[in-house]
Symmetry: C2
Subunit: 201 residues, 2 copies
């Protein structure tokens, strides 16, 4: 870099640099000063767009949620309820394995306080709402709102757990092959269906 970009781009350019910094050096390395340095602009310039480092990070994460939600939404287009839910599960796992950085940013431990960043919170809630909607579309009479909420948390826990295990080296201790990873995803989705009283498809 080193060239001064037109000011209108700083907001977007800062998001790109922020992701690059996190990818290269971890979350701890992210600061507005470092973003400014990489963009070749004054230290003060990013503050016109982001009041703090956490505001920038919250916006990076909000974009991840929006991208993730669009990806999940696409996976269910034109599908009937039980297949839609299963496809969403597959899409979730694919996203987690193919976009580990975005996944870690959304579901990692060091996210900014959602109460302070309502835009990020809204995007996160929208992604979760897609799962709720897929569950609501299932023909299951007598399902109360709180049962549905517990079902949604169960599905999320299970798929997030599998994705997290596949991201870590803890899985190496069990010495799984690539085929057994695929089989594991299938069998996990089948078991979720069993737990919810659905037929395996």
């Amino acid at each position: 870099m080193g060239t001064v970009k037109p000011r209108v781009d700083v907001r977007e350019a800062a998001l790109v640099e922020a992701r690059a910094i996190i990818e290269e050096s971890g979350l701890e390395a992210l600061s507005l000063r470092e973003v400014a340095r990489r963009l070749g602009i004054s230290h003060q310039a990013p503050y016109k767009h982001y009041p703090s480092r956490d505001h920038l990070l919250a916006e990076v994460i909000a974009r991840c949620y929006a991208d993730f939600a669009a990806y999940l939404d696409d996976s269910t287009k034109g599908e009937m309820p039980p297949d839609a839910l299963r496809n969403m599960g597959r899409a979730y796992m694919r996203y987690a394995l193919e976009s580990p950085l975005s996944y870690r940013l959304m579901f990692g431990a060091q996210m900014p306080d959602p109460a302070q960043h309502p835009e990020m919170l809204a995007k996160a809630q929208h992604a979760f709402q897609l799962l709720r909607s897929a569950l609501e579309a299932l023909p299951r009479p007598g399902r109360t709102a709180s049962m549905l909420e517990a079902d949604a948390m169960f599905i999320w826990s299970t798929i997030h757990g599998l994705a997290s295990i596949l991201h870590t080296r803890a899985i190496d201790s069990l010495q799984l092959t690539d085929e057994s990873v695929e089989a594991l995803i299938d069998s996990t989705l089948n078991k979720i269906g069993m737990a919810l009283g659905l037929q395996p498809s």
Copy 2:
């Protein structure tokens, strides 16, 4: 600190300091040099016990697995098979919530390569074996070894997923109360039972 400890203690003292460093400053801050500095011993002294920083970290993690396995094992003592499995699930969640550092070290992303640290690998495999054994003890005729393996991975994914979600701020987006966390753990364990074709207890 600052006093030279008898050499026989260095091995154990280094483990204590390593955990303290990780707890205070994160995994990145761990080095044999920093351990030596805190113990007030020469930079070379820790190398007599640990060939590298990763060997020290592997031993810290191996101890976590041993402690975790003992905790899970205790939870199932004198219980009949289905209750033993459920109690193990509860104990797992309790451990994850009460010992977040140990939990993160065992199942976090930056563990040393298990192939290079067979002692750590053995301890990790022993902990997973407790889950397999609890499953083997269930009266379920016709269950093959690979079905049992998939069941074990499913249980681990689900409970690990819930524990991870409860560790992160992503859960704040959903605004759960403490009671709903307890209810969530119960409902998750019930659903695992359903998925495995067991009766809820």
